[in-house]
């Protein structure tokens, strides 16, 4: 029997409740990345319908121009905005920008990398995503 490594597993990886907003951002980043990938593949397929001529295109368009379709699109917009804005934050972070400067830590320890700059980044990506989704809904349903 291979040794049980006692890993926390996917449940532990996904659990967003324990380590603050940074861990929520981590999870949303993953989910939105996957969601966008799925949408992207679907979108390529969708647009390929143009090859079927005007009738084919319109047929397909009708399938998506429903309430569910619009809601789905709104989520895609949200994911896209979140993933993009948070992606920029993450890239800056990965490059060492805004993660604080090394310094003697004083008890009680307060890790400099978990700072307000990045927290603001996370919250603003969430807010922007929500705003974008609402704007999208307004446009789509506003017809």
């Amino acid at each position: 029997m291979p040794q049980d490594e006692h890993k926390e597993g996917i449940g532990g990886m996904m659990n967003p409740t324990r380590y603050g907003i940074e861990r929520v951002a981590y999870l949303l980043m993953r989910l939105s990345g996957l969601g966008l990938l799925a949408y992207f593949v679907a979108h390529i397929y969708e647009t390929s319908n143009i090859l079927r001529g005007q009738v084919g295109w319109n047929e397909f368009l009708e399938l998506t121009q429903t309430t569910e379709g619009h809601l789905f699109l709104a989520i895609v917009i949200a994911m896209c905005v979140f993933h993009t804005v948070n992606g920029i934050r993450v890239m800056l972070g990965h490059g060492g920008v805004g993660v604080g400067k090394p310094a003697r830590p004083d008890y009680p320890y307060d890790p400099a990398s978990q700072n307000y700059r990045h927290k603001i980044g996370i919250y603003s990506s969430i807010v922007l995503a929500a705003v974008a989704a609402m704007y999208g809904l307004a446009v789509m349903f506003g017809e």
Binding site: I10, R30, G33, L34, L36, L37, F40, V41, I44, Y45, T47, S48, I50, L51, G53, Q54, W57, N58, L61, C80, T84, G87, I88, M91, H94, V139, M140, E143
Partner: protein
Amino acid sequence: MRESTIMKIHYGTALAAVALVAVHILMRLTQNFAESLEYESVLANYKFIPYAIMLELILILLAVHGFNGLRVILIELKQGRIYEKAVSYGCLAAMIGLIAYGSRTIIMTNMGLV
């Protein structure tokens, strides 16, 4: 390929995509939403060569970025030489497949083969 090269590409594609997707969406927004989706206007867009080139670029960038992202998630979920090789090549194949399929649409539409 070294992991750092792959990841630099990942970040690079992301950055480039930010710009291009922004243009893509902005162009959609210059028109009324429903109008923008009308067959004629879509087709016209495809026929406009600079726009078609941009679409092709977006296609490549996002496919590379997205499938590499998928690869990252998958190799973190489970380890093993064979599995990781399968994931890497699988993602590469899917990436190429999607680019080919998308390019077909763009090229054919652009050349007026519809």
